[in-house]
Amino acid sequence: MTPGSTDDPSQLLDVLAGEYVLGTLSAEQRAAVLARLDREPDLRAAVDRWEARLLELTTLAEPQRPSTRLWRRIDRSISEQARQVHPTSRWWKRLGLWQGVSAAGLAATVLLSLALLTTRPATTHYLVVLVAPTDQVPGWVVQASDARTIALIPLGRDQVPEGMTLQFWTKGEQWQAPVSLGLVKPGEQYRVPLRDLPPLEPNQLFELTLEKAGGSPTGRPTGPVKFIGRSVKVI
C-alpha cells in the first residue's frame, strides 16, 4: 500500500518503533515490542529516538491539577514498599529449605540449566543479557537456574583501566537501591550465591559498573554503567 521503501527491514523496525511510541499498536503488539526491547538494541534505540522526537507533543495536552489525595497516595505506597523490601524472618526460613538441597545438584542445575529446562519445568529459570548502554553490544550473560545461585558468564574480554574494577550489582523492582554482588574480573566466569537476597524475580536489574579497585566505597554504584540488563523468566 505504501509506495517504496518500507520493505527494508530497518525501515520496518523503525516504523514499528514509531507506532509503539505513537501508541497505535494493540495490547498484544505492545507486549511483543516490550519483550523485544531488552534483547534488541536496534529496536530499543529506534524507540528511544522516537520518544525524543515526539516528546514535545505532550505539551498539547492541557495540564490538569491532581486531586489533593494523589500525592498522599504515592507517598504512602512508597512507604509501604520500603517496609516490604527489608527481608523478614519469613524468607530466612525459606532459605533454610533451600539449604537442604544438595550442593552438587545445584551446581549441575546451573551448568545444565538449558538442558534442564525441559525436564524440570517446575523450577523458575532466569536469563539476563547484559549489554553496553552506549552501543548495546552484549558483553555478559547472567544465568540463574535456581533461586540461590547465579552465574555471570563473559561473552568477550573487556578492557578495564588500571586501578579500576568491574563491580556487579542487582536491584529488584521494589528495592530501594542496588545491592553489590561482588567484584568481577574481565573475561572470567563469576558465580554468586544469592543467600542474602530475596529470590530472583522477573525484570530484576543487573549491571556492571566501573569502580575504583576494591569496589565502590559507598556500597552503591558510583562509576559509569558498563553493562546492564533485566532478568527474563525462561520457561
Binding site: 505513537l22 515526539l54 514535545e56 548502554p133
Partner: protein, 179 residues
C-alpha cells in the same frame, strides 16, 4: 500552554530519587504532576483512572530511578514515556476498539487546525506542518489522544487501511524531516 517553564533539573531529580531522597520525588510531582496528569488524562479520558496511572508511574519512577540511563535520552523524556506507556497499556487493555464517543475527543479537529498550537518552537511542529492535514491529524490523535488505528478511522471517517498507511508514511516523513 507551552514554554515559560522554569528550568527544572530532571536528571538531578532522578539521581536524588536513586539515592532514596523522597523530597526529590515530591519536587518532581509538584513541578510536573499536573502536566503529566494532563497527558495521561487525555489518553485515558477518565479522571480516576488517570490519577491511578500517575500514581503507578511515580512509584515506577521511584523504584527505577537507578536504571535511568542518560545515554539513551533525556530524564524528562524518560519520565513522560513511563506515564504515557502506562496510560497506553491501560487503554489498549481495557478500551473496546471502535467504541469511540466523539464527545470525548475535545473538538480536536478545530484545535489542531488552529495555527496557535504550532507556536511551540520544537522541531516536531515544523515537521508536522509539512504533512498533509489528514495524516497530521492521525499522528496527533494517536500520540496526544491515545487513539488506536480503528478509533482514528472512525473519528476521521476514513478506511482503516488508509489510516494505517497515512500513519506509516507520516512516521517516515517525520523521521526524514527530523534527522
Amino acid at each position: 500552554m507551552n514554554s515559560s517553564v522554569t528550568p527544572f533539573d530532571f536528571q538531578g531529580c532522578l539521581a536524588a530519587c536513586a539515592r532514596g531522597d523522597r523530597s526529590a520525588l515530591q519536587a518532581l510531582y509538584d513541578h510536573e504532576g499536573s502536566r503529566l496528569l494532563g497527558v495521561v488524562r487525555r489518553i485515558v479520558r477518565d479522571d480516576a483512572m488517570a490519577e491511578d496511572i500517575v500514581h503507578d508511574a511515580f512509584i515506577r519512577i521511584w523504584t527505577r530511578a537507578t536504571s535511568f540511563d542518560a545515554t539513551r535520552g533525556s530524564a524528562r523524556g524518560w519520565i513522560y514515556s513511563i506515564n504515557r506507556h502506562l496510560a497506553l497499556n491501560a487503554v489498549r487493555d481495557s478500551r473496546q476498539e471502535t467504541t469511540l464517543d466523539d464527545a470525548d475527543i475535545v473538538t480536536l479537529v478545530g484545535e489542531f487546525d488552529e495555527g496557535a498550537i504550532w507556536s511551540g518552537s520544537a522541531k516536531i511542529y515544523r515537521c508536522l506542518e509539512q504533512l498533509q492535514p489528514a495524516p497530521q491529524r492521525c499522528v496527533l490523535h494517536a500520540y496526544v489522544d491515545g487513539c488506536s488505528h480503528a478509533e482514528i478511522a472512525s473519528l476521521m471517517g476514513a478506511p482503516l487501511g488508509t489510516v494505517k498507511a497515512w500513519i506509516k508514511r507520516s512516521l517516515e516523513a517525520l523521521r526524514e524531516c527530523m534527522t
